[in-house]
C-alpha cells in the first residue's frame, strides 16, 4: 500500500489555514466532489422517477380525470379505463392483512420486548428477520399450492358454516380471492410490525414499568396500560409501514387473488389489485392510453406508499425521541 508514504504537506511556514490548491492536491476537494456526485445521483434518480410517472401518465390523466378512480370499466379494446376494482381490491386485501397481522404482530412484539429473556428474544427476532428476507414469489408459491387448497377445502367452508350470515363470508369457496390474498399478505407484513414495535417497546424507559409495578399493577397491566400506550405512536408507525408494504406487494397477491376485476362484499370472491394488474398487463399493453393508464395506477401506488411511509417514519421518530427525553429526566 502506498499509504505508508504519506507526507505532511507543507503549504506555508505555519500550518494554519491551508490554501485551496494544496487541499486540492491532496485530493480532499476531489473526494468531496466525487462522493457528492454519487450522492446526488440518488436525488436525481428519485426526481426522475416521480417525473417519469407523472409525464408517463399524462394522457390517461387528462382523458379520464377524476373519473379514473370511481369508474369500474376496464376495457382495453374500447380504450375505456377505470381503476375502481383495483383500488378496491388493494384496499380490501391490505385491511384483511392488517386485521390479522396487527394483533399477532403486536402480541409477538410484546412477548419479545417485555417477557422473553434477552437470549430468547434475540433468537426469535433473528428468525423473524429471516422471515422478512423470504422473497414474495416464494410466498406466492406456497400460497398457490398450500394455502389456496387449504382455504378451499377447510377454512372457507368452515367460515361459511359458522359466520355465513355475514355478507363477508358468502359465495362459493374458490380458494383464491381477497381473503386468501389478505392472509398471505398478513404473513408477509408481520415481520415488519414485530421488528419495529419491538424496537419501540424496548425504547420505553425502565422507570415507567417499575412505577406501574410499584403501584401494584400486574405484569400485564403494566405492559398494556403503561408501556404500550407510551409506545403507541411508534406502534402506529409500524402499522403504517406494514400497510405501505401490503399495498405495494405484487407477486404473492398476483398469484392468489384470482385476477378478476370485481367489486364484491364477499371476501371469498376473486378480485384484482393495482400491483397485480400492472404485473399482468404492462408487458402486453398495446396503445399509449392503455400503457399510460397502467402507469397512472403505478403513480397512485407511489403516492399512497409515499404518504404512508412518511407518516410511519415520523411517528417512529417521535416515539424514540419521547423515550430518550423521558429517560434522561
Amino acid at each position: 500500500m502506498a499509504a505508508s508514504t504519506t507526507t505532511v504537506p507543507n503549504a506555508g511556514p505555519v500550518s494554519g489555514s491551508r490554501s485551496f490548491l494544496s487541499k486540492l492536491r491532496e485530493g480532499d476537494e476531489i473526494a468531496r466532489v466525487v462522493t457528492f456526485l454519487f450522492a446526488s445521483t440518488v436525488v436525481l434518480v428519485t426526481i426522475l422517477l416521480v417525473l417519469e410517472l407523472w409525464h408517463g401518465s399524462s394522457l390517461a390523466r387528462h382523458k379520464f380525470g377524476f373519473a379514473f378512480f370511481v369508474t369500474s370499466v376496464w376495457d382495453p379494446i374500447a380504450g375505456d379505463f377505470g381503476a375502481l376494482p383495483f383500488i378496491y381490491g388493494t384496499l380490501v386485501t391490505a385491511f384483511v392483512s392488517l386485521a390479522i397481522a396487527v394483533p399477532l404482530g403486536i402480541g409477538a412484539a410484546i412477548f419479545l420486548a417485555e417477557l422473553a429473556p434477552q437470549k430468547v428474544s434475540d433468537t426469535l427476532q433473528f428468525f423473524i428477520d429471516l422471515l422478512a428476507a423470504v422473497p414474495s414469489v416464494i410466498y406466492g408459491l406456497l400460497g398457490i399450492f398450500i394455502i389456496v387448497p387449504l382455504m378451499r377445502e377447510y377454512i372457507q367452508p368452515f367460515l361459511k358454516a359458522t359466520l355465513g350470515f355475514l355478507p363477508l363470508f358468502t359465495g362459493p369457496a374458490y380458494g383464491i380471492g381477497f381473503f386468501t390474498a389478505g392472509i398471505v399478505l398478513a404473513i408477509m407484513v408481520i415481520p415488519y410490525i414485530v421488528s419495529v414495535s419491538r424496537e419501540v417497546l424496548l425504547s420505553v424507559p425502565r422507570d415507567q414499568r417499575e412505577a406501574a409495578l410499584a403501584l401494584g399493577s400486574t405484569r400485564w397491566e403494566s405492559t398494556w396500560k403503561v408501556v404500550v400506550p407510551f409506545a403507541r405512536t411508534g406502534i402506529m408507525g409500524s402499522i403504517f409501514l406494514a400497510l405501505a408494504r401490503a399495498l405495494g406487494e405484487t407477486m404473492a397477491v398476483t398469484m392468489v387473488i384470482g385476477n378478476t376485476p370485481t367489486i364484491s362484499a364477499s371476501l371469498f370472491s376473486p378480485g384484482y389489485s393495482i400491483a397485480a394488474v400492472i404485473a399482468n398487463e404492462f408487458s402486453e399493453a398495446t396503445g399509449d392510453l392503455y400503457l399510460q393508464s397502467l402507469i397512472e395506477l403505478g403513480l397512485v401506488l407511489f403516492i399512497l406508499t409515499f404518504i404512508l411511509n412518511g407518516l410511519a417514519r415520523l411517528l417512529i421518530i417521535l416515539t424514540a425521541q419521547r423515550g430518550s427525553e423521558m429517560g434522561r429526566t
Binding site: A3, T6, T7, V8, E26, D28, A31, V34, T35, F36, F38, A39, V42, V43, I47, L48, L49, L53, G56, P103, L104, G107, A108, F111, L115, L124, F126, I128, D129, L130, L131, A133, V134, P135, S136, V137, I138, L141, L142, I144, F145, I190, V194, T218, W220, T223, L247, G248, E249, T250, M251, M255, A275, A279, F282, G298, L301, T305, F306, N309
Partner: protein, 283 residues
C-alpha cells in the same frame, strides 16, 4: 379483594400467554415455509435442474441453467451499478456533508427505499427498455440496482458514523489529509459492517420478481449478451407456478428451494459476521 386480585393475576397470565403464542405462531411460519420447500423442492431437484435448458412447452424434463446464470448476471451488473453509488453516497453523507444537502439525500434514499418494486419496474421500463426498444439484462439490472442503492447508502453512512471520532483525529494529527484518513482509517474500520450490508442488499434483490417482469422479461434459451432478455430464477418460479403443467410445478418448487436456500444462507452468514462485532476498535 383477594378474588379481584386472583382475577387480575389470571388475566395477566392469560394475556401474557397469548403474546407468547403470537410469537410462536409468527416464528413457526418460517419453519413451515422451510419445511414445505424442502419437502416439495427436495424431491424434485436433480442434476438436470442445474445443467439443462428448459424443454419446449409440454415436454417433461429440462432444467433452469439459463435462469441460474441469468440471475447471476443480473445481480452482478446490479451490484456494479448500485454498490458504488450507494457506497460513495454513504461516504459523502457520513464524512463530507452537513445540513440541507444531507437531509435531501437521506430523504430521497428513504423515499426510493419505500417505492413498491413494481413501480421501480415501470421506471426502469421507461428509462432503459423504451429507448433501446427491447427487454434486456441491462434493464433488469438497472431496476435491481435502484433497489440496492438506498440500502447500501444508508448502511454505509450508519457504519461510518459508528467509527469513533478519535480514530479520525488520530489520523489527522499524524498529518493525513481528510481523504486519506477516510480511505485508510475510517473505511477499513467499518468495512465489515458495510460488506455485510451489501450482502444483505444483494440477498434482498435476488428474490425480486416484480421489477424484472417487464425489464429482464424472460427467456427460454441462453441470453447471448447484456442487451437481450434473460431468464431469472424468481421470474421462472412465477411463470412455472401459475402454469398448468405438473412438471413445471415440480421445477418451480425446486427453484424455490434453491433461491430461498441461497438467500437464507447469505442472510445467516451476514448476520453472523455482524453479531461477532463489527470491527470498530474500542478506544
Amino acid at each position: 379483594m383477594t378474588a379481584r386480585l386472583r382475577y387480575r393475576k389470571l388475566v395477566s397470565g392469560f394475556m401474557l400467554g397469548m403474546t407468547g403464542l403470537a410469537a410462536l405462531i409468527t416464528v413457526a411460519v418460517l419453519f413451515f415455509i422451510l419445511g414445505y420447500l424442502v419437502y416439495h423442492g427436495g424431491t424434485s431437484i436433480n442434476w438436470d435442474f442445474f445443467t439443462k435448458l428448459p424443454t419446449p412447452v409440454g415436454e417433461n424434463g429440462g432444467g433452469m441453467a439459463n435462469a441460474i446464470v441469468g440471475s447471476a448476471k443480473l445481480l452482478f451488473l446490479a451490484s456494479l451499478i448500485g454498490v458504488p453509488i450507494g457506497f460513495f453516497g454513504g461516504v459523502y453523507l457520513a464524512e463530507f456533508s452537513g445540513g440541507a444537502v444531507a437531509f435531501i439525500v437521506r430523504y430521497a434514499a428513504d423515499l426510493l427505499n419505500g417505492v413498491p418494486s413494481i413501480v421501480i419496474g415501470i421506471f426502469a421500463y421507461a428509462l432503459v427498455v423504451l429507448p433501446f426498444k427491447h427487454y434486456s439484462t441491462l434493464a433488469g439490472s438497472f431496476a435491481l440496482a435502484l433497489m440496492m442503492i438506498p440500502i447500501t447508502l444508508r448502511s454505509t453512512e450508519q457504519f461510518l458514523q459508528a467509527v469513533p471520532g478519535s480514530l479520525r483525529e488520530g489520523a489527522m494529527a499524524l498529518g493525513a489529509s481528510k481523504s486519506r484518513t477516510i480511505a485508510s482509517v475510517v473505511v477499513p474500520a467499518a468495512y465489515r459492517g458495510i460488506l455485510t450490508a451489501i450482502l444483505l442488499a444483494l440477498a434482498r434483490v435476488a428474490g425480486e420478481t416484480a421489477p424484472l417482469l417487464f425489464t429482464a422479461f424472460g427467456n427460454r434459451f441462453w441470453s447471448p449478451n447484456w442487451s437481450q432478455p434473460t431468464a431469472s430464477l424468481p421470474v421462472m418460479i412465477y411463470t412455472y407456478a401459475i402454469s398448468p403443467y405438473d412438471d413445471w410445478h415440480r421445477q418451480a418448487w425446486a427453484a424455490g428451494l434453491v433461491l430461498l436456500g441461497l438467500i437464507l444462507v447469505v442472510n445467516i452468514v451476514a448476520r453472523a459476521i455482524l453479531a461477532r462485532g463489527v470491527s470498530i476498535p474500542r478506544t
